[in-house]
């Protein structure tokens, strides 16, 4: 990227997606960090179990909702990665496990 010399992302962080560790930089959103790691499928739909990815990337469409630190329905495009964050990719109609 031609602006790379001028823009430095924040310090490295490690978060987990479905238990697999991913390296990211702070300031990155979960969706962008996953895309950077080559992961385009963010979830599977509830009824038909179809893969879905980033669609509007600005918090409108809710297609990128994931389970983040135990909370379901969180938009990956609006949530910045944090060190130790646990992200779970929702799959079809199994009940979401939420921490109290």
């Amino acid at each position: 990227m031609n602006t790379a010399s001028e823009i430095t992302p924040g310090p490295p962080v490690t978060f987990k997606v479905d238990g697999e560790p991913l390296e990211a930089r702070s300031g990155q959103t979960v969706a962008a960090a996953m895309l950077a790691a080559g992961r385009r499928v963010l979830r599977h739909t509830r009824h038909q179990s179809k893969p879905r990815g980033l669609f509007c990337a600005m918090g409108v469409c809710f297609d990128c909702v994931m389970i983040i630190d135990g909370e379901a329905g969180v938009r990956a495009c609006m949530t910045k990665v944090r060190d130790g964050m646990q992200v779970v990719s929702p799959r079809s109609f199994e009940p979401y496990e939420c921490k109290s």
């Binding site: 001028e6 669609f55 990337a57 910045k80």
Partner: protein, 472 residues
């Protein structure tokens, strides 16, 4: 148990920190009113002046390029004027006149304002086609946001399609970031806009911008392919190719013209839709304005809506572009402050009216040149998902609409189309279009979508504090 709620009072609450909202905030603050700006994103600027995350370091701001620096003057004026700007704040409801319910950092609270300026902007008009739910298919604005805000290219081989001048700045942002754009497909043809060309006389700053985009595309050896639309996306777990067809003047695909374009990212957008959920919730009257993007709150040239004390500014008041939004925000800010008894120079108001009319005229020229062609909805087959949240197909909607011959509210209830997380922001206009066609009615006559709080999902736990406080 610690109760975490807040109640704030202010002269003017402004919803949205994009060009319209920030412009209104500066005008009103400078006139002496107390102002609180509320915005859902992490950084102010909206989509047009999208900023980098605060965590990213910038060595030389002057060399960042105009994608970033064009907002500097406005954001600098915001800091200088010194109003309160609350980011990561969701306005989710309003249960009493002049009172907004908000959630901010896990705390729920209310903001009581003597005037409310809604500057909630717009979102992209996505028109369904088979395969539009595949990962890798996204909106052009989404791709631009990934690059501008996150410095992340959306993919390795990108196709841009749809219609409207917005595809040009998106292409420029992507190219400047080193992206490989395989093709750009635009549904309209230049000869269709030729009749509007003379009306551009006087709008020289906008014309210069268009010429600059033309240069950027020429340097990248990219030629826009006019009169072509995406009819299908194909791929296994994500998009692998776009199928495009030539279309006639009304947008109908022409048989036998199929062309396959391999890609891993397909961005399709047909302009913008005003984000009217809050103005509906506040009880403003709305009217259908096809030229300006659909349902908009009725408002006068002074930006007052039909609800006492509620103003609108920018894209929510009808699609007109960022410069119309800046002008309208300024006007709304001055008028709201003036209604509060603050002294506002009449010459400032007069010139704001003039500026607004000029920018709106330009917006309308662009809107007419790139009006959505009815034929582009032909590509929606019965098994195409229309409501992405609830996985409702076009076939289900068509069947329900034919059987019930009703307005969109009823078809929504029967099919669940529009009842998911996004609250019909993406599929609402498609539901209206399909319902109108199935019942032989018009999009205006099948009605708009009703709105209920919360405007976007909020945590029950956050609201529990509010209920506890109210009950105590």
């Amino acid at each position: 148990m610690q109760i975490m709620t807040f109640q704030i009072e202010t002269d003017i609450a402004i919803v949205g920190a994009g060009p319209a909202g920030l412009s209104a905030a500066i005008a009103a603050t400078n006139a002496g009113a107390s102002v609180v700006v509320l915005d859902e994103y992490a950084e102010p600027g909206g989509q047009f002046y999208k900023q980098l995350p605060a965590e990213f370091a910038v060595s030389d701001r002057a060399r960042l390029g105009d994608d970033y620096t064009k907002g500097d003057a406005l954001l600098g004026a915001v800091r200088k004027a010194g109003m309160t700007v609350w980011n990561e704040t969701l306005v989710w409801g309003s249960f009493d006149p002049g009172v907004l319910s908000v959630v901010r950092g896990g705390k729920a609270g209310t903001i009581k304002a003597r005037k409310i300026i809604v500057a909630s902007g717009a979102y992209e008009r996505a028109i369904a086609f088979p395969g539009w739910d595949l990962p890798g298919v996204m909106t052009p604005g989404g791709a631009q946001t990934l690059v501008k805000n996150q410095q992340q290219l959306p993919g390795k081989r990108i196709v841009l399609a749809g219609s409207g001048p917005f595809l040009l700045p998106v292409a420029k942002t992507l190219l400047n970031a080193g992206a490989n754009i395989a093709a750009i497909f635009e549904a309209t043809r230049p000869r269709e806009w030729a009749r509007h060309a003379l009306r551009l006389w006087g709008h020289w700053d906008r014309v210069a911008e268009a010429l600059q985009y033309r240069r950027t595309l020429a340097e990248a050896k990219l030629a826009i392919q006019f009169g072509r639309i995406v009819v299908r996306a194909e791929g296994k777990d994500s998009v692998e190719r776009a199928v495009v067809m030539n279309c006639d003047a009304a947008g109908h695909p022409i048989a036998g013209s199929e062309h396959v374009e391999p890609c891993d990212t397909l961005c399709v957008g047909y302009g913008f839709i005003p984000q009217v959920q809050l103005t509906r919730l506040l009880g403003c009257e709305h009217r259908y304005d096809a030229l300006r993007g659909g349902w908009i709150p009725r408002h006068g040239p002074d930006m007052r809506t039909t609800v006492e004390g509620v103003f609108v500014a920018g894209e929510v008041a009808g699609i007109g572009g960022a410069y119309a939004a800046l002008a309208e925000g300024w006007l709304a800010g001055l008028n709201a402050a003036s209604e509060l008894g603050r002294s506002v120079r009449s010459s400032a108001v007069t010139s704001a009216y003039r500026d607004r009319s000029m920018r709106r005229r330009f917006g309308d020229i662009v809107n007419s040149a790139f009006a959505v062609k009815p034929g582009v909805f032909d590509v929606i087959t019965d098994d195409t998902i229309v409501c992405r949240c609830e996985e409702v197909t076009a076939g289900e909607i068509r069947a329900a609409a034919s059987a019930w011959s009703a307005q969109v509210g009823a078809i929504k209830g029967v099919t669940r189309c529009g009842m998911g997380y996004c609250q019909a922001r993406i599929c609402g206009h498609l539901l209206a279009e399909l319902t109108a066609r199935a019942t032989g009615s018009t999009v205006e006559d099948v009605g708009g979508m009703s709105v209920r709080p919360p405007l976007k999902p909020v945590r029950v736990g956050d609201l529990a504090d509010l209920a506890h406080k109210a009950g105590s």
